[in-house]
């Protein structure tokens, strides 16, 4: 009998917990603050290199905005005078779960806007739901070219980060500018959508811009493999002059370490499209001259403007290291949102509606930590910004790494015009590209 009572109490406890949780959720909203859902990886392999720096950046920017500490034009408090409240959510767990959590953010936690998403699969799944729920959503990092071709006629969804095709078009343009005589090129990518798409964009751009260069080897190990001995051997025997890789995070660092130790990088130059996120960690493990990118004018490539100076200082003070590109991208997205919400107007201290903010965001030009961004593609929903590449330089005396030989390509030079898919634009030989 005793176990029975305990069981009954347990059952009642479970039921009470469930009801209690639902009740607390109901009154969490409408507190007059501007609630922003921040969705980024807090666990899993993408958390360390991308998710945590992004979440940290969100905290720095939100705190700074609430204190009114940022330089002009963002020296007003909060968003439209309303205090910002960030609701941070983990992006791990796959697209179905993210759709569920997105609905919870919008309908249960009543956020006014959502900023987030690193995984392209998550962005693709979230976009139609955001439109359906009329929830203002800013994708800050995911790179898939399919975002606005699969979800045509966006109203509430925006992307402040750049299309992944831009990374690879920019990478080829950098090669063409700095190493025009290269003839043997190899690649190593993670075998999933990101790696496959990157390699397609890179090789197709290469065929147009550097027709003399031949692809001598392509390796596609599975994602998060960690050990690349066999792949490095396969690359080495083909004696490439440049090794392109869209690896990111731990995989990228592991590859650079192993390739360097095995001599692949003695003769070949590595071209790492996501290399900047490990700038402070390579130390002497990456050879000088390694070409690295940051998927846009972010991180170490961010321009020397007042906003970025403030951001780098605030971030470094709080976390003891300079912001990497995912951090800058997050700050960039939140500033874009603030600019749009304030352009939408309304009384000071009020929270503008999603409709008004979306209308103001569409086609907007705003100042940011990464320079001036223009929402000039996908009918005013996709940002256009320049992309920079440079070479790695490590100073063993100071223990500091820096980037030199930076070349920046304007947005018009690397971004397909509206109405053209990146794939078609590359194959047509970049018609209408305006390069500096």
């Amino acid at each position: 009998m005793k176990t029975n009572t305990i069981k009954r109490q347990l059952a009642a406890g479970v039921a009470a917990l469930a009801l209690g949780a639902m009740a607390t959720a109901a009154n969490a909203a409408d507190n007059g603050k501007y609630r922003v859902g921040i969705v980024t990886f807090l666990s899993g392999p993408a958390a360390g290199p991308f998710g945590i720096p992004s979440a940290n950046a969100a905290k720095v920017i939100v705190d700074g905005l609430n204190k009114g500490a940022l330089p002009a034009p963002y020296n007003t408090k909060g968003i439209n005078g309303a205090e910002i409240e960030a609701v941070v959510i983990d992006e791990a767990g796959g697209a179905t779960k993210q759709v569920e959590e997105f609905r919870n953010l919008v309908q249960r936690q009543k956020v006014d806007a959502v900023v987030g998403y690193i995984s392209s699969g998550d962005c693709l799944a979230i976009a139609p739901v955001a439109e359906e729920l009329k929830a203002l959503t800013v994708f800050y990092d995911c790179g898939t070219s399919r975002l606005f071709t699969d979800n045509t006629k966006p109203t509430y969804t925006f992307r402040t980060g750049l299309d992944a095709a831009v990374d690879n078009i920019g990478a080829v343009r950098y090669l063409a500018a700095t190493k025009p005589d290269v003839t043997k090129i190899a690649g190593i990518q993670q075998n999933y959508a990101w790696g496959q798409d990157s390699w397609t964009d890179f090789t197709e751009s290469l065929a147009k811009l550097m027709p003399k260069a031949k692809v001598v080897e392509s390796q596609m190990p599975k994602v998060f493999q960690g050990q690349y001995g066999a792949e490095i051997s396969a690359l080495s025997v083909k004696r490439p002059q440049v090794v392109h890789s869209s690896f990111w995070g731990g995989d990228m660092e592991a590859f650079v370490l192993q390739a360097n130790a095995r001599g692949l990088l003695d003769d070949a130059v590595a071209l790492l499209t996501c290399g900047e996120s490990a700038l402070d960690r390579f130390k002497d493990q990456a050879p000088n001259g390694t070409i690295i990118g940051a998927r846009g004018p972010f991180g170490a490539f961010a321009p020397d403007n007042e906003l970025n100076t403030w951001f780098v200082k605030a971030y470094t003070d709080a976390y003891g290291m300079a912001p990497t590109y995912p951090a800058t991208k997050m700050a960039h997205a939140i500033l874009g949102l603030k600019a749009a919400a304030e352009k939408a107007g309304g009384n000071n201290g009020s929270v503008p509606t999603a409709e008004a903010t979306a209308a103001a965001f569409k086609g907007a030009t705003f100042e940011s930590v990464s320079g001036t961004a223009k929402m000039a593609r996908a009918d005013g929903h996709q940002a256009v910004q320049p992309i920079s590449y440079g070479t790695y330089k490590y100073d063993p005396k100071t223990g500091k790494a820096s980037i030199e030989n930076i070349i920046t390509f304007s947005g018009e030079c690397v971004t397909p015009p509206d109405g053209t898919t990146s794939d078609a634009w590359i194959k047509a030989g970049f018609p209408g590209a305006v390069c500096n």
Binding site: D90, Q107, R146, W194
Partner: protein, 330 residues
């Protein structure tokens, strides 16, 4: 047709859910929809657990069901939701009929590993299919129900909810009858002692086979409904962690009743979503402690909270037999 207590509860709960769906907020409706759809996959796991097999690859059929719904539109030009779901079930059953020939030769860890291997093969194939979006997957949209186009918005959420509740209730009803039938009982007997069942003149292997194939169909239905509700499919559906989640939910609920997986799936979703909300940096730990707590304090799952404490096996299965022979005699 006389309904027993569980069946009455099933009908009652289904009606209650449908009524609740009229007033509940959108997020809760969606959460329950996904939970019930996943619970159908868990039913497939439980069906095999009852027969002594733990499938570590039920995600295979979940994924087949989901991709059938997703691919029906762009590749076959079919937009009727019910037809898409049926295609998923048929595809999964067909696949299970082939795989079952091999898998039902194995037991215990060998079955678990082999089932996991097949789901990972599907995962690998999908990841390498760039035309299907590789790991990014693709969206499922523009489907119809009984000739009506399901436009986005709250209507779609409600329609899928209704569809899922009805499908879950019907499947649960059939499963409950199945578990009480002689074949269903034989499954439990196979788990306890396969050799004795053979001595009874039955073939454990073919019973396992039929059970495996039926479980595949049920799981595929869950996958199809998830795809319709979430509007997106990706290869993660076949990844082993997804299959692990189904086992997690099965253990959480226990095999005590056909209602247990539904309860467990809803509790799991609620615990997870609130863990994510309140402890965003350590929500997995909350889930882990929940399972740990269940294993330690309720080894027969959450369902044991709802059963009266009484002696196990000997009395329960004997009871219906006695009444039936009594009825025949009179």
């Amino acid at each position: 047709m006389r309904l027993d207590k569980t069946e009455l509860a099933l009908v009652g709960l289904a009606v209650l859910l449908l009524l609740g769906g009229m007033v509940a907020p959108g997020w809760l409706i969606f959460l329950v929809t996904i939970a019930l759809a996943k619970a159908l996959v868990v039913q497939g796991v439980v069906m095999q657990m009852k027969a002594g097999l733990v499938s570590f690859g039920q995600g295979l059929f979940y994924c087949v069901g989901g991709y059938a719904v997703g691919m029906g539109g762009p590749f076959l030009g079919i937009s009727a939701g019910l037809v898409l779901l049926a295609i998923g079930v048929v595809a999964a059953v067909g696949l299970a009929m082939v795989l079952g020939l091999l898998l039902t030769r194995y037991r215990e860890i060998f079955f678990a590993m082999l089932s996991l291997a097949f789901s990972m093969i599907l995962y690998g194939v999908l990841v390498k299919s760039q035309e299907l979006g590789s790991t990014d997957g693709f969206n499922v949209n523009n489907w119809t129900l009984l000739g009506q186009t399901i436009a986005g918005g709250e209507t779609a959420t409600h329609v899928v909810f209704l569809l899922t509740v009805v499908a879950a209730a019907v499947v649960a009803f059939l499963l409950h009858r199945y578990y009480r039938s002689s074949v269903g009982m034989t499954c439990e007997a196979i788990r306890e002692n396969e050799v004795r069942v053979e001595y009874l003149g039955l073939s454990p292997r073919w019973i396992q086979y039929a059970n495996y194939v039926a479980a595949a169909g049920v799981s595929a239905l869950g996958g199809g409904l998830t795809a319709l509700a979430a509007g997106h499919v990706d290869p993660d559906m076949a990844y082993w962690t997804t299959s692990g989640e189904f086992i997690f939910i099965a253990l959480l609920g226990g095999t005590g009743s056909v209602l247990a997986p539904f309860l467990a799936a809803i509790v799991f979703s609620l615990v997870r979503t609130y863990a994510i909300e309140f402890v965003p940096h350590a929500w997995q730990m909350i889930l882990g402690f929940t399972l740990l707590g269940i294993v330690v304090f309720l080894p027969k799952g959450l369902w044991s909270l709802f059963t009266r404490h009484r002696p196990e096996a000997p009395v329960v299965p004997a009871a219906p037999q006695k009444t039936s022979t009594g009825g025949a005699g009179a």
